[in-house]
């Protein structure tokens, strides 16, 4: 028997390292025709806010080489509707549930953390810090180590659930942000969120997206994500979750090799809705063929000369 389970901080054991990336897996239920949710390490929900959010005007997406830009604008049904309409199905499927959430002020993050903390059936929280802080003139929480740390400190006080902080790659030094949120009490970090990009239409001379800019995701960002995961994993003592362009078992293994304890698959769920289950099975096959009985023996085993 191969042990695929991984520990994300003290409180959260996943049966395997394959998670879904927020915003690419709906609220989980939509994928039930394609796979068994309880075969995944964890299901990470679409990012929730206190109140429902309508999101941006269309066009919201455009394909780019080996990837896509999105400016969905964090559209979601709000925490209340999630708890009443969506969480029961996830519980019934016996999925490990990670709720991703965000706010526009620290107060909003705190209130959300408190609400989610009181629910049963939620196994961990993932804080999306790639959001504008309206009280700081719209500067993103995730772009400044001090602001990121004070947000995590505030949320930490409101919940005993395992806390994952999801980092933005649109920064000069992601290591300093990771270290700051570790010191503030985050149990894990996940990275990367999307990279800000843009597409224009030569004929109309207009931006393709109504929002002008959007977040780049998909295989195009994998080398950047891999580099950032590698750097962060060497500089923090908490588990790191690798995200960015994973489209195959080998991609997932590469992130584990450079030090990710778990991985999340995003955009490629759109292309193949069964891909997370296939990658989980693929990792098991790989370990079996490599005669590795515990996945922890493989994680971070990168050979640096």
């Amino acid at each position: 028997m191969i042990d695929l389970s991984v520990l994300l901080g003290s409180g959260l054991r996943l049966k395997n390292p394959v998670m879904t990336a927020s915003g690419t897996f709906g609220y989980g239920r939509e994928y039930e025709p394609y796979l068994e949710l309880n075969k995944l390490g964890a299901v990470v929900t679409k990012g929730l806010s206190l109140l429902p959010k309508p999101g941006n005007e269309p066009p919201r997406i455009v394909e780019t080489p080996c990837g896509m830009l999105n400016a969905i604008g964090l559209e979601n049904i709000g925490v209340e509707a999630f708890l009443s309409d969506e969480l029961p199905a996830l519980k019934a499927a016996q999925a490990t549930v990670v709720v991703n959430f965000f706010g526009e002020t620290i107060d909003e993050y705190e209130e959300l953390a408190e609400i989610l903390d009181q629910e049963t059936g939620i196994d961990a929280l993932e804080i999306n810090i790639s959001c504008p802080n309206v009280k700081a003139g719209g500067l993103q929480f995730g772009t400044d180590p001090r602001m990121a740390a004070s947000l995590v400190t505030a949320v930490r006080r409101r919940t005993s659930l395992p806390l994952i902080t999801k980092l933005s790659p649109n920064v000069t030094d992601i290591i300093s942000i990771a270290m700051a949120v570790e010191a503030a009490g985050s149990d894990c970090v996940s990275l990367i969120n999307t990279l800000t990009g843009m597409a224009v239409d030569l004929q109309s001379r207009k931006p393709v997206l109504a929002n002008i800019t959007g977040g780049l995701s998909g295989p195009a960002i994998k080398p950047i994500a891999l580099r950032m995961v590698h750097q962060v994993a060497r500089n923090v003592n908490i588990p790191v979750i690798g995200i960015g362009g994973i489209s195959s078992t080998n991609d997932a293994l590469e992130f584990l090799l450079v030090g990710a304890t778990a991985i999340q698959v995003g955009t490629c769920n759109f292309v193949n809705p069964a891909i997370t289950a296939e990658i989980a099975a693929g990792i098991e096959t790989f370990l079996h063929e490599s005669s590795i009985s515990h996945i922890s023996d493989f994680i971070g085993s990168l050979q640096l000369a």
Binding site: Y34, P58, R60, I61, P65
Partner: protein, 272 residues
């Protein structure tokens, strides 16, 4: 709905930039299919990362060994498909979305089918359904629009059906066949001539045409269903990329998903 590998069985060029592709499907595919539904199709072999996303195409026609798509080349993905070798395996997902409301169309009802350009792919699935279900052809009015006569597809087949009662009208932008001008000119004329016996309108085509048609239908108080297009990443309701504004929703949350709530919508609910 299925997620399946599909073999390219046949590829036929119809005009320099349109082709028909016949694809294999799982056994129960036809049984699940409702006219107006679509598939998401990979445009490159498995494990190719570019182009990454699947593309949406209306299921045009069911065939004993699978189904056909009718495709117009507009960019990289459709161009790759155009040159696909017979036997190539594609990755498919479907049938997806809600089709036309076939169960509410009574057999004694006048039906107006309006197709603009490659929108004919979706309309053919509906026409096939009507033929199969033995709708009287004398109640069906097919109105086709294209830029020029050489872009009118399947015209001989439609002409044969006129001998059995189908009414066929054509508009081309350059007047090379039928009315010179827009399909909506024809629709508006026919609605005026038949004001006492309103048809149900079902349509697929470019957005400006659908918008004009929806407005005409609302003015004439005709029931009208429009099949919309949108940029899609997933095709099954999870990316929220394909939304369009809908009047029946509250103002704070005005969106419906074209892939999951459509692609066919009641024109009265759309912000036209």
């Amino acid at each position: 709905m299925f997620l399946f590998p599909s073999t390219v069985l046949q590829l036929t060029e119809l005009t320099p930039d349109t082709f028909r592709i016949r694809l294999s499907s799982p056994e129960n595919f036809a049984r699940q299919f409702i006219p107006g539904q679509f598939v998401m199709a990979s445009v490159a072999g498995p494990s190719h990362l570019d182009p990454l996303l699947k593309r949406p195409f209306s299921i045009c026609r069911l065939r004993p060994d699978g189904f056909e798509l009718l495709i117009k080349v507009v960019g990289r993905g459709t161009e790759i498909l155009q040159h696909m070798a017979i036997g190539t395996l594609l990755s498919l997902h479907g049938p997806l979305g809600n089709g036309y409301p076939v169960n509410v169309i009574g057999k004694d009802r006048k039906i107006m089918l309006v197709a603009g350009g490659i929108g004919i792919a979706s309309i053919i699935s509906l026409l096939d359904y009507c033929l199969e279900a033995a709708y009287p052809l004398k109640n069906i009015n097919l109105i086709l629009g294209a830029r020029t006569s050489s872009e009118l597809l399947y015209i001989d087949e439609f002409r044969q059906l006129t001998e059995k009662g189908l009414t066929l009208s054509i508009a081309t932008d350059d007047g090379s066949r039928g009315h010179r001008g827009l399909v909506t000119d024809l629709v508006s004329r026919q609605l005026q001539n038949n004001a006492e016996n309103n048809p149900i309108i079902l349509s697929c085509g470019p957005l400006p045409m659908l918008t004009a048609l929806g407005k005409l239908a609302v003015e004439a108080s005709c029931p009208c269903y429009l099949s919309l297009e949108s940029r899609m990443a997933c095709g099954f309701g999870v990316c929220l990329g394909c939304v369009t504004r809908n009047k029946t929703k509250d103002e704070k949350h005005p969106w419906v998903k074209v892939c999951h709530d459509g692609p066919v919508f009641d024109a009265a609910t759309l912000q036209l």
